[in-house]
């Protein structure tokens, strides 16, 4: 996985290329609900995602570790952190989550990245008017 080319004097110049080495992946998601006035707290949101995981991947899936790093209740936008190996499971269960308390809902995955930093500088947010 790793490739390193070092100079003669490693203290002076060192270059390391890390490939697929990121332990976590970060997701920026947005929950769309049929009834826009419904409010979810962070705990409810996480619980909701866990039920989605449980229905698709069972008890093993429900045990998947992920963190709700940041959640904005007004926009229903959240930042998730998940181990890279669990990314596909989490993402697919988010996709298949279709209803929250008997109302239709959908998760929009806005951005997925192995670096948390890149979620803070998304040029698609640039508004010029």
């Amino acid at each position: 996985m790793r490739r390193a080319d070092k100079d003669d004097k490693p203290t002076v110049y060192q270059r390391v290329v890390l490939k697929n080495a990121s332990p976590h992946h970060y997701m920026k998601i947005h929950l769309v609900l049929q009834d826009a006035s419904t409010r979810l707290s962070a705990v409810e949101l996480k619980q909701f995602i866990i039920t989605g995981l449980k229905s698709l991947y069972g008890e093993v899936g429900a045990a998947l570790n992920f963190d709700l790093l940041k959640y904005d209740e007004d926009t229903l936008t959240a930042l998730l952190r998940v181990y890279s190996r669990g990314l596909v499971k989490l993402w697919s269960s988010l996709t298949l989550l279709g209803s929250y308390q008997n109302q239709a809902c959908a998760f929009r995955v806005l951005q997925v990245s192995p670096f948390l930093l890149s979620l803070t500088g998304n040029s698609r947010d640039l508004q010029l008017d």
Binding site: V12, Y13, Q14, R15, V16, V17, L18, K19, N20, A21, S22, P23, H24, H25, Y26, A42, V43, K46, N65, D67, L68, L69, K70, L79, R81, S84, R85, G86, L87, V88, K89, Q111, V112, S113, P114, F115, L116, L117, S118, L119, T120, G121, N122, S123, R124, L126, L128
Partner: protein, 351 residues
């Protein structure tokens, strides 16, 4: 144990870490900075500092402004007058705005006079200019990248390639997008002939600053690159690292060993930013670091445009999931620096 089938695979990601010193002759910071043409956001983290120093502030305020042209037909970029006043003299930065590289046609005009078009299959077949299949399309090529050197002899006004591209863009593929333009060193004056014909507006890069208090901070010299970037991202996104490992919502913690900073200033600037300005900022920060201070480090993060068809140099860029292309420069008092360059899936390795 790998129980599931292909469920733990993630697309490739690349992180290049450089450790070097500004005093080293072989350091390549300036070339690495200049090769990322389309910068969207620069954020600077100043430890133990409550307000930006005057000269840093002046540099940030002197970032050159950029122009937004609405509904610009792309063939106007081949206009003879525009080529002579802007492309051949100085360097022009142009990027289509509000076009998504995974669905729309994207255009970029690079300072070295190269025009890069990332087109979907139908547009490519209409245009009739030779290009390459994109690295981001799978077996059935659904996206093509055309790269044209406008300073080439055949692309001089009246030349064969020039006429072919012009007729293609004028009569067959009517490519019209909102366009961001900037010019170095001429600024708006060089672009005026083009701007005057269309609906345009001038924009200043937006400056934000935010002061944080009581921030836990890892040991930077020895920190693992991914942990460091995670911490920096958490700081940038206002995510609290004060969690216990058993909390239900989040178990994000600051990597050990850690110290606590009483005050941290986060300054960020958004817009179409020129590498020249970024370079100027880096020089200014180096001067600032030479002053005796409490904390002797400073970090600077530069994000590229997600939807730019090129990342470092003229290499192809695309969005698979994140479209990340950014670099973080962590500078220390003794002129050493850590540079982390990151790109997403299918992008080539940064320089």
């Amino acid at each position: 144990m790998n129980m599931s089938v292909d469920l733990d695979q993630t697309p490739r990601s690349l992180l290049v870490c450089d450790w070097s010193s500004f005093l080293d002759d072989k350091n390549r910071v300036s070339s690495q900075v200049e090769q990322l043409h389309f910068n969207y956001k620069v954020s600077v983290l100043l430890p133990e500092c409550s307000s930006a120093p005057a000269h840093l502030d002046s540099v940030l305020n002197s970032f050159s402004s950029f122009y937004l042209i609405r509904n610009l037909p792309i063939h106007e970029l081949l206009d003879k007058q525009f080529l002579e006043t802007a492309v051949y003299q100085g360097s022009v930065y142009g990027l289509s705005y509000r076009t998504r590289i995974d669905e729309d046609n994207c255009v970029a005009l690079m300072p070295n006079g190269r025009l890069s078009l990332s087109l979907d299959k139908d547009s490519y077949q209409l245009l009739g200019v030779e290009g390459k299949p994109s690295r981001f399309s799978n077996r059935t090529n659904s996206r093509y990248v055309i790269s044209i050197d406008l300073t080439d002899n055949s692309m001089a006004p009246g030349g064969r390639g020039y006429l072919r591209l012009l007729t293609g863009l004028m009569s067959r593929l009517h490519l019209t997008t909102d366009f961001l333009l900037s010019h170095h060193p001429g600024g708006g004056a060089s672009l005026q002939p083009l701007l005057s014909r269309y609906d345009w507006s001038e924009h200043r890069p937006e400056l934000h600053s935010h002061a944080l208090t009581h921030l836990s901070c890892p040991e930077l010299q020895s920190c693992d690159p991914h942990s460091f970037l995670e911490w920096l991202g958490a700081v940038d996104a206002d995510i609290s690292c004060e969690n216990s490992s058993i909390s239900f919502l989040s178990s994000l913690v600051c990597p050990e060993p850690k110290t606590t900073l009483s005050r941290v200033l986060r300054v960020s600037i958004c817009g179409l930013l020129l590498p020249q300005d970024v370079h100027r900022l880096i020089q200014e920060i180096r001067c600032y670091l030479e002053q005796p201070q409490l904390e002797s480090w400073l970090s600077l993060t530069v994000h590229g445009f997600v939807d730019s068809p090129v990342s470092w140099g003229g290499r192809e860029h695309g969005v698979l999931r994140g479209g990340e292309n950014f670099y973080t420069l962590l500078m220390f008092h003794d002129h050493t620096y850590h540079l982390h360059l990151a790109t997403g899936a299918h992008d080539t390795c940064p320089p």
